[in-house]
Symmetry: C2
Subunit: 290 residues, 2 copies
């Protein structure tokens, strides 16, 4: 028996042994996931002939990634995003036909309980930037208005940080929760979002660096729209013309989500400024699957 | 185009996109590992049709695993051990033919800088248990003694904890560093090791529980033996007759590493007690590969 054959045989036997040990898993779905995970991880280790030093680097990387997480930072979501896993899970779970607006990645910067604001409110909360008026409707697939839909919006500040990344931020900024009017309409005032690097001072930044990859995301506004009888829509609107649209660090861009920030004409109800920019976009919700 | 086809196609395109993004990786080995990792992880996600809730549970599990790690606890090594990854890496990297002693898992309880002790010393350091005399030789594959080999030993206490798991332990216990004599011989006094559960109060314990698995390891003594011109040997000696030999939680048992703890006859040089048990084992080192 030659050494190569022995190696293959020992390694395969071990995988069988682990899969068999998982046969006792009471929940069939957990069993299926765990057995598939073990099979794929073992295949990976065998395929690349992982060295002990590489294994130790992997353990250290995963440990540092976990320890980087806190209330303001979720490094494992960043890792999932930058490896395309998040968008893959999204693609598997949100395959929509027809007119329905496409999903994209949720990201790590959403906050529960953002301020509840009325139609046409201002979410700047003291942030300075190019005044932008965003408006449109939430519709069903057959073009009917969806009234009272809950729409959460959140976006980055012109200094390239989300409020949650700034421990000095006095309160929530550039995030709010709206509800559509009877005719499905929504509107709010904000600043133009900027392209920004994902946090690159941790293990995920090290990984991007080792792979010769940049950490930039094209400018976008996040939306989560929820309404009874419809699938929840988690998506972004991306600013047309952004330099990073072709190489988003988290693979989130879809052509249908790129919108023009046109010169504005709307007048701000309180400050009477004219909008520098204006975005109009109608979201289309897919029906809840029964 | 039906929905199933669209799903497959979107998901496959995404994987291609991520693999292509990794083409810029400067180091060819890093590139190969990263591309293979992404391909295998994406295959896994697609194969099990991972739901968003399951993805979120995975993120939470990995985060908690990282946050469980500290100077005394390495939860990601435990995870690797309990999924058979550690033994697989070992099998790939330490395929030895002929008489050479087999490797097994390193485990998370080794400590650098254990006390340097002479031939025949006592490593109990105040720990009570069945007095055991362990002795034998370190040999080359052709049966010649290996003089001055460094032999580190470490083992669990009869209370089922390693010294490093006990914040109250006044100093190192049941661990030491020896060097073989001119004739390759080694010897030390200890207590009989016991079978013990791996730490099960963290995420890995939750995983074992969800899989209907127990956390027990059969009783063993750890060894790491290093000598110039030979491959480093990381292994255990397992106590014959242990109830957990067939189902070691970390898949570490190999038949050739199971040894008898026989009734003892040796006399302790300081206390003049007779050994309750005696283990004789000769380790055989494989030559360094050039």
């Amino acid at each position: 028996m030659n050494v190569k054959h022995a190696e293959t045989s020992v390694a395969a036997t071990l995988t069988e042994q682990v899969l068999e040990r998982l046969e006792t898993t009471p929940d069939p779905r957990v069993k299926y996931i765990m057995q598939s995970l073990v099979a794929h991880l073992h295949d990976f280790v065998r395929k690349v002939n992982l060295s002990e030093e590489e294994w130790a680097q992997g353990i250290d990387f995963l440990t540092r990634t976990g320890q980087m997480c806190n209330e303001r930072r979720q490094e494992f979501i960043l890792l999932s995003d930058t490896l395309g896993i998040s968008m893959l899970v999204d693609a598997i779970n949100h395959q929509r036909g027809g007119a329905a607006t496409e999903n994209t990645v949720f990201g790590p910067f959403h906050v529960e309980g953002s301020p509840q604001l009325p139609y046409g409110a201002d979410i700047r909360f003291g942030v300075e930037g190019e005044l932008t008026f965003v408006h449109g409707k939430v519709l069903s697939a057959d073009g009917q208005p969806v009234a009272h839909a809950q729409m959460e919006v959140w976006q980055v500040r012109p200094d390239r940080l989300y409020d949650v990344q700034d421990a000095q931020a006095p309160h929530m900024q550039l995030r709010a929760t709206f509800h559509t009017r009877e005719d499905g309409s929504y509107a709010f005032w904000t600043v133009k979002p900027v392209s920004y690097p994902i946090p690159a001072d941790g293990p995920v930044g090290d990984m991007l660096n080792a792979c010769g990859r940049h950490p930039w995301r094209p400018a976008h506004i996040h939306f989560r729209i929820r309404a009874d009888g419809y699938q929840t829509l988690v998506t972004h609107l991306f600013a047309a013309g952004d330099a990073w649209l072709q190489s988003d660090a988290v693979f989130g861009v879809k052509d249908s989500l790129i919108v023009a920030f046109n010169p504005g004409t709307a007048i701000h109800p309180d400050t009477h400024e004219t909008a520098a920019l204006e975005v109009e976009y109608d979201f289309v919700l897919a029906p809840q699957m029964s």
